[in-house]
Symmetry: C2
Subunit: 200 residues, 2 copies
């Protein structure tokens, strides 16, 4: 086994970068190898020299990004200040939507279509992580650090509200007439969860 050369690494990265752009916009089936090749400035057979198939590119992307995507939740610290930990999570998730919209849409496309390629990760890795953090949130609520709340549905609402701005960006832009949604979104979402969670 040889180490990958600089060229190999550069081309692999270019393909993944191009794949992220195109898959996130058109979904798996809506994307063609030609689009990826053009976006990566490579020929179609050359793309298939680095990856065995179109599906291999897609799966490499999903697997490589899942950890990054779940990282903010993993960071939630049971020993930290409850309200501050949760508000930091909300803020980080919204910033990720703003700064990495392609990643958000890639997962949204995959899940919307039934998660055929990562269903195992949802029932395994994802469920475990959410269950673990749900227990932390429940303990915080029991200790009176935050108001009582269903921890699983709290997580769903944070996901829903933050990822909405990336996934449905076209609609948000249409309704706002092109104004930048993020300053308002940050203020609104922060206020919403602060009111929900702050004890009386």
């Amino acid at each position: 086994m040889n180490e990958p050369t600089r060229i190999q690494r550069r081309n692999r990265d270019a393909i993944l970068e191009a794949g992220l752009t195109v898959f996130s916009q058109y979904g798996f089936r809506g994307t063609t190898l030609d689009q990826i090749a053009t976006e990566a400035s490579l020929s179609k057979p050359n793309v298939l020299y680095y990856f065995a198939s179109k599906e291999a590119i897609y799966i490499a992307l999903l697997e490589g990004l899942l950890d990054t995507w779940l990282d903010p939740l993993r960071t939630l610290d049971a020993d930290g200040d409850a309200l501050h930990e949760l508000m930091s999570y909300v803020t980080r998730k919204l910033e990720m939507s703003r700064d990495f919209p392609r990643e958000s849409r890639l997962f949204a496309n995959e899940i919307l279509q039934g998660a055929p390629h990562i269903h195992g990760a949802l029932t395994g890795e994802l469920k475990s992580l959410v269950d673990e953090k749900a227990a932390v949130i429940e303990a915080w609520a029991a200790a009176g650090r935050i108001r009582p709340v269903d921890p699983h549905h709290l997580v769903f609402s944070i996901w829903a509200m933050t990822q909405h701005y990336a996934d449905f960006d076209v609609q948000v832009q249409a309704v706002l007439g092109g104004r930048d949604p993020y300053p308002g979104a940050l203020a609104h979402v922060t206020m919403l969860f602060e009111r929900l969670l702050t004890p009386d």
Copy 2:
């Protein structure tokens, strides 16, 4: 122009019904005419006897459903009780996610991929309606009937939180381990918006 016969109406409806099922699961490009034909128990050329093209079926679905989908927002009554009107809207939207998940996913797929077929309706019909209702919400807030809130972002959060349960159902099911999400969702979402909107 003749009236459509019963058979014509029945077949057209069967195609639209089948299209809704398949398009909402696989998106426009991910869906084949064969899938629609099989689902509708018709032959492929027979499907194209009723609709000029695959795209025509898709557009007929989107246009036919947009009004229905926006109806709960249109119902928001400026002369009603502010909090009650908004909570009814939240509840109705969540019930629609539960009862019409295919419709929700059809729009989600379309918007996620940049709304190539209904972009005009977003900047026209949808924006007008939201702007109109945003003014109503702002007036309620100014009158002290609800807490001050950015009306556009309020609408986004209602859409995000309610449609999440339909659009990302696979993920919700995976995390909850198959438990029915809706009883908990209704309680959580209702509580969340009540706390956000109820004046002190």
